[in-house]
C-alpha cells in the first residue's frame, strides 16, 4: 500500500498544491470553484429537472466519496447478493468510500482482502459467475495492472467463451480511484480508461459528480448484466459536493449527457476535466460575445453514446475532446475518428484534442502535463477561429 498507497489524505489533508500553485496573476488556471460550478446541484431544487432522478425524493448534500458510500449502502440493502471487498475496505477504505458498511452489513459481505489486485479481480469474477453481485475495490487505478489479465482475458470474454452454457459475470463491478490530484506523481495519478475501452466486453464508466456517481454505480450493479469498470476521479472525492437523492435510482450506462447546450462548438469530456471545460467555456463566452459552447459528458466511455455526440457535432460543426490521460491512442483519438467518419461534411474545423502529453506524470511537472483551463480555452478559440 502506498504502496505509498497514500491516500487518505492524498487529497484532503493536504493544505496546498505543492507543485502546481496557481500563478499569482492567473485568470484562467485558477483553483476550480466547486461551490459555484454549474456542474453540481447546489440546491435540492435543481434535482427534479434531471431525467432519471426520482421525482419528489428527499436528498442530502454529499461529496463524491459519501455518494459512493450511499450507493454501496443502497446496493447492500437492496440485494443480499451484493458483496463489497478490497484492500482496507473494512475500516472504511483509504478514501472512506466503505465507511461503516462492515458494521452495518457484516464481515461476510463487506471485508478486507489480502493485498493482491489479481486475486481481488479473479475472486470477484468467480463470485459473479456463481450469481453474486461483487463490488470489488482496487485501491488505485495505478495498481490495477496485476488485475489486467483477469479483466481482459476473463471478465471481458466470459460470456463469449461460455456461449450456450449461459454463464456470465454480469453484476461484477470493479471500482478504482483514478486521476490527478496535483502531487500523485507516476503512481497515484493514472487514468487508464483507454486501456479498458480497447477491450470489448467490459463497460467503462466514469462519473463526474456525487449524484451521477450514485445513479451510475447502482445501474452498474443492478441494471446491466455486463462486467463494469467503474473509475472514480479521486480528486473529486472531497472537492465535489452536491445534493444527492437518498433513495435508489439509476442512470443508464452508455448514454451521454448534454450538460450545457450550445450552438457553435461541442466539447466532449468525462470525469474531472469537465470542471476545467466548464470554466474555460464561461471564460470564452465572456471574451467572445455571442459564442455558445455545448458541453457533453460521456459518462460511459465504452460502449459509448456515439449518436448523441455525432448529432451534436453535426449541429455545431466543431469539436474539442478533453481528457486527462495521455493523448496518444486515447479516448480523444476514438472520438475524433468517429466524428471524422460520421460528421465529415459538417465539420468546419479539425477535431482538436486537449489531453495529457505523451509522457509520465512527473511530480513537479503535473501542471504542465495535464490539461488546464488555459489549454482548453486556447483550443476552443483556435477551433472557432479556424
Amino acid at each position: 500500500m502506498v504502496r505509498p498507497r497514500a491516500p487518505r489524505c492524498l487529497i484532503a489533508q493536504i493544505p496546498r498544491r505543492y507543485y502546481s500553485a496557481p500563478s499569482p496573476a492567473a485568470k484562467l488556471n485558477l483553483p476550480l470553484d466547486f461551490k459555484t460550478t454549474p456542474l453540481l446541484h447546489h440546491t435540492p431544487a435543481t434535482l427534479s429537472s434531471v431525467p432519471n432522478f426520482p421525482a419528489g425524493a428527499t436528498s442530502k448534500r454529499l461529496n463524491l466519496f459519501q455518494a459512493i458510500n450511499s450507493a454501496l449502502r443502497t446496493a447492500l440493502s437492496s440485494s443480499d447478493k451484493v458483496l463489497l471487498f478490497g484492500e482496507d475496505v473494512a475500516f472504511g477504505g483509504v478514501f472512506r468510500c466503505s465507511m461503516d458498511l462492515q458494521s452495518e452489513f457484516g464481515s461476510d459481505r463487506v471485508f478486507n482482502t489480502p493485498l493482491t489486485e489479481q486475486g481481488i479481480a479473479g475472486f470477484a469474477i468467480g463470485a459473479a459467475a456463481e450469481g453474486m453481485k461483487p463490488v470489488a475495490e482496487l485501491q488505485f487505478a495505478d495498481y490495477m495492472y496485476p488485475a489486467f489479465d483477469q479483466i481482459v482475458n476473463e471478465a471481458a470474454k466470459f460470456r463469449y467463451r461460455e456461449g450456450n452454457t449461459g454463464v456470465n459475470v454480469g453484476g461484477l463491478v470493479i471500482r478504482m480511484p483514478c486521476g490527478a490530484v496535483g502531487h500523485g506523481a507516476l503512481y497515484h495519478t493514472q487514468s487508464p480508461e483507454s486501456l479498458f475501452a480497447h477491450i470489448p466486453g467490459v463497460r467503462v464508466v466514469m462519473p463526474r459528480s456525487p449524484a451521477q456517481a450514485k445513479g451510475l454505480l447502482l445501474s452498474s450493479i443492478f441494471e446491466h448484466n455486463d462486467p463494469v469498470i467503474f473509475m472514480e476521479p479521486k480528486g473529486l472525492y472531497r472537492a465535489a459536493a452536491e445534493y444527492v437523492p437518498n433513495e435508489y435510482y439509476t442512470i443508464p450506462l452508455s448514454k451521454a449527457e448534454i450538460v450545457k447546450p450550445g450552438k457553435d462548438l461541442t466539447i466532449i469530456s468525462y470525469g474531472q476535466p469537465l470542471y476545467h471545460c466548464s470554466a474555460a467555456i464561461s471564460a470564452i463566452e465572456k471574451t467572445m460575445k455571442g459564442v455558445n459552447i455545448e458541453l457533453i459528458d460521456l459518462r460511459t466511455i465504452y460502449p459509448w453514446d456515439r449518436q448523441t455526440v455525432l448529432e451534436s457535432v453535426r449541429r455545431t460543426g466543431r469539436a474539442v475532446v478533453v481528457h486527462e490521460s495521455m493523448v496518444n491512442y486515447g479516448v480523444g483519438a476514438e472520438v475524433a475518428a468517429t466524428l471524422q467518419e460520421g460528421a465529415f461534411l459538417r465539420l468546419e474545423a479539425p477535431v482538436k484534442r486537449v489531453a495529457g502529453w505523451s509522457t509520465h506524470t512527473g511530480l513537479t511537472y503535473e501542471q504542465f502535463i495535464l490539461p488546464d483551463v488555459a489549454r482548453i480555452f486556447d483550443a476552443i478559440k483556435q477551433t472557432l477561429e479556424y
Binding site: 500500500m1 502506498v2 504502496r3 505509498p4 498507497r5 497514500a6 491516500p7 487518505r8 489524505c9 492524498l10 489533508q13 493536504i14 493544505p15 496546498r16 505543492y18 507543485y19 500553485a21 496557481p22 500563478s23 499569482p24 496573476a25 484562467l28 488556471n29 484492500e87 482496507d88 473494512a90 475500516f91 483509504v94 478486507n112 489480502p114 493485498l115 493482491t116 489486485e117 489479481q118 486475486g119 495505478d142 495498481y143 495492472y145 496485476p146 502531487h183 500523485g184 506523481a185 507516476l186 503512481y187 497515484h188 493523448v327 502529453w357 505523451s358 512527473g362 511530480l363 513537479t364 511537472y365 501542471q367 504542465f368 488546464d372 483551463v373 488555459a374 489549454r375 480555452f377 486556447d378
Partner: protein, 448 residues
C-alpha cells in the same frame, strides 16, 4: 525429448559450467520407478515415501518457526556462552548513529509534511534495525531493491542527507529529476534501484538482477561475487509477483536475499487478514529456499543472519535465501494515514514501550561503556542541526528544468513529444500570466 543445453556452455570455461546448472538438475526422461520401491519417484516429488497413513498436514500442529535473536531488550547477550558479534566497536557505533540519523530525519520530515512543506512522507520508526543491520552485511558492489520503508538501507549504503533532502524536495539535485513522490529514493552506487510505488514489482526484478550478477561474475573472475538484497513488507508478499519472484529465483538458483519486514500491518490490514500459516518464513521453505525468522529489533541478529544469508546465497552455485524480520509498525502507514482509525492507541504505546531497535542497541553500547547520556545528547543535537541545514538548502533550490517532464520516456525524445513541447511553449508564451515558472531552473528556456 528435447534436451536443452545451457546457452552459455560454449562461451565459458569448462570448469565453471557445473556452477551454472542447478545442483539438483534432473531430466524428465530419466526419472524412473524401481520395482518394489518404498517411495514415489515422480518427477514432481522425487523422494516421497509411500504411506498407508492418510495424514493431512495441519500447519497449526507444527511448531512455529523460531525467531533468532542475539541480544535481548536489555541489550545483553541472550546466549552468554557464545562469542559476541564479530563487529568492531567503531562499526557498531556507526550503525547506532545511522539508526539515530534516520529516526531524527523521520521526525523532522513528518512535521515538515504537517507544515505543508513536503507533500508526503513515510517514516520507518521501529524498523531501523532491519534496514541497517541487513545493509551492513552487504558489500558496496551488491545491489539492493527496496520497497519504501527502508531509508536505513540508503543511509547505511552512503546516501547522504543532501541526497535525501534533494529527493524529498524534488529539486534540481534529485537523482529522480523531481519526478517521484517523496521517499522514492534511488542511488547509482552502491546501487539501490529507485523505489516504485506499486507493491511487489521489485521481487521478480531482484531475482533477474541476481541472475545477471551471477552470470556476469562467472564471466569476470576479477569480480568478487555479488548478491541482490530485495526488501519487501509482509503485505507485498500477498501479491502475485511475490510468488513469481521467489519461485523463479529458486529454480534459477539466483543469489538473492529476500528481506521481508513483517511489521504487522499493511495500511489498516492486520496480518490475520493478510495471510494464514506461519508468517512469510514458512513460504520460503515451500519454495525450497533456506529461510530464517529474525527479531527485527535486534540489529546484531539482522547483521548475522544477513551475513550468513549472503554466504549461502553465493555457495554451491548460488541460491536464494529468505529472511523474515519481525517488527511492529509503530508509525502510521504514511502521512496520508491515521492509524488510530483502525488500531488502538494503547496497542501502539505498548509496543513502543516494549522494545525498539535503537534503544536496545543503545543499552548494549552503554553496557559496554561505549555510550552515555552526554554522547547521546551531543549526537542528537548535531544530527538535528545537520538535517535542518540540508533541509533549508534543499528547499530553496530550484526544481529541475521543465524539459525533464519529457526526457527519459524514451532514450531520445520522440518527434511527437518534441511537437508537444513546442505546443506547451506556445501556450505558456500566449498565456504568460497563467503559469508560474519561477520555481523551475531556466524558466521557459528550460523547455528548449
Amino acid at each position: 525429448m528435447l534436451l536443452r543445453r545451457p546457452l552459455l556452455t560454449a562461451r565459458i570455461p569448462r570448469s565453471v559450467v557445473p556452477v551454472l546448472t542447478s545442483p539438483a538438475r534432473r531430466w524428465g526422461s530419466t526419472v524412473s520407478q524401481r520395482p518394489g520401491s518404498d517411495r514415489v519417484v515422480f518427477p514432481g516429488a522425487i523422494n516421497s515415501e509411500f504411506t498407508s497413513d492418510m495424514a493431512f498436514i495441519t500447519g497449526r500442529d507444527l511448531p512455529a518457526i523460531p525467531t533468532f535473536r542475539v541480544i535481548n531488550s536489555d541489550g545483553e547477550m541472550v546466549d552468554k556462552t557464545r562469542a559476541p558479534p564479530n563487529v568492531s566497536d567503531e562499526e557498531v557505533i556507526t550503525w547506532y548513529k545511522n539508526m539515530l540519523q534516520v529516526s531524527i530525519m523521520d521526525t523532522i520530515m513528518f512535521d515538515a509534511h504537517r507544515q505543508g512543506r513536503i507533500s508526503f512522507y513515510m517514516v520507518s520508526q521501529g524498523e531501523e534495525g532491519i534496514s541497517i543491520g541487513s545493509a551492513a552485511a552487504l558489500i558496496p558492489d551488491d545491489v539492493a531493491f527496496s520497497q519504501y520503508r527502508e531509508a536505513g538501507v540508503y543511509q547505511q549504503r552512503g546516501f547522504t542527507l543532501k541526497d535525501f533532502m534533494s529527493q524529498l524536495f524534488a529539486n534540481c539535485n534529485d537523482n529522480g529529476k523531481g519526478r517521484n513522490m517523496p521517499v522514492h529514493y534511488g542511488q547509482k552506487y552502491p546501487r539501490i534501484i529507485t523505489v516504485s510505488s506499486p507493491l511487489a514489482t521489485q521481487i521478480p526484478q531482484a531475482s533477474g538482477a541476481a541472475y545477471a550478477l551471477k552470470i556476469k561474475d562467472l564471466q569476470n573472475p576479477n569480480q568478487a561475487p555479488r548478491v541482490v538484497a530485495c526488501y519487501l513488507g509482509e503485505g507485498a508478499a500477498s501479491e502475485g509477483d511475490f510468488h513469481a519472484g521467489l519461485n523463479i529465483a529458486a529454480t534459477r538458483s539466483c543469489p538473492v536475499i529476500f528481506v521481508v519486514r513483517n511489521n504487522g500491518y499493511a495500511i489498516s490490514t492486520p496480518t490475520i487478514e493478510q495471510y494464514r500459516g506461519d508468517g512469510i518464513a514458512s513460504r520460503g521453505v515451500g519454495y525450497g529456499m533456506d529461510t530464517i525468522r529474525v527479531d527485527g529489533n535486534d540489529v546484531f541478529a539482522m547483521y548475522e543472519a544477513m551475513s550468513e544469508a549472503r554466504r549461502r546465497a553465493l555457495s554451491d552455485g548460488c541460491q536464494p535465501v529468505l529472511i523474515e524480520a519481525m517488527s511492529y509498525r509503530v508509525s502510521h502507514h504514511s502521512t496520508s494515514d491515521d492509524s488510530f482509525a483502525y488500531r488502538a492507541r494503547v496497542e501502539v504505546e505498548d509496543w513502543k514501550r516494549r522494545d525498539n531497535p535503537i534503544i536496545r542497541l543503545r543499552k548494549w553500547l552503554e553496557n559496554k561503556g561505549l555510550w552515555n547520556e552526554d554522547l547521546e545528547k551531543e549526537t542528537r543535537d548535531s544530527m538535528r542541526q545537520a538535517v535542518l541545514k540540508e533541509f533549508k538548502e534543499a528547499e530553496r533550490l530550484k526544481k529541475p528544468p521543465i524539459r525533464e517532464a519529457f526526457t527519459d520516456v524514451y532514450e531520445e525524445i520522440t518527434e511527437e513529444a518534441q511537437e508537444q513541447m513546442k505546443e506547451l511553449k506556445r501556450i505558456i508564451e500566449t498565456y504568460p500570466d497563467e503559469y508560474d515558472l519561477r520555481p523551475y531552473q531556466d524558466g521557459l528556456k528550460g523547455l528548449e
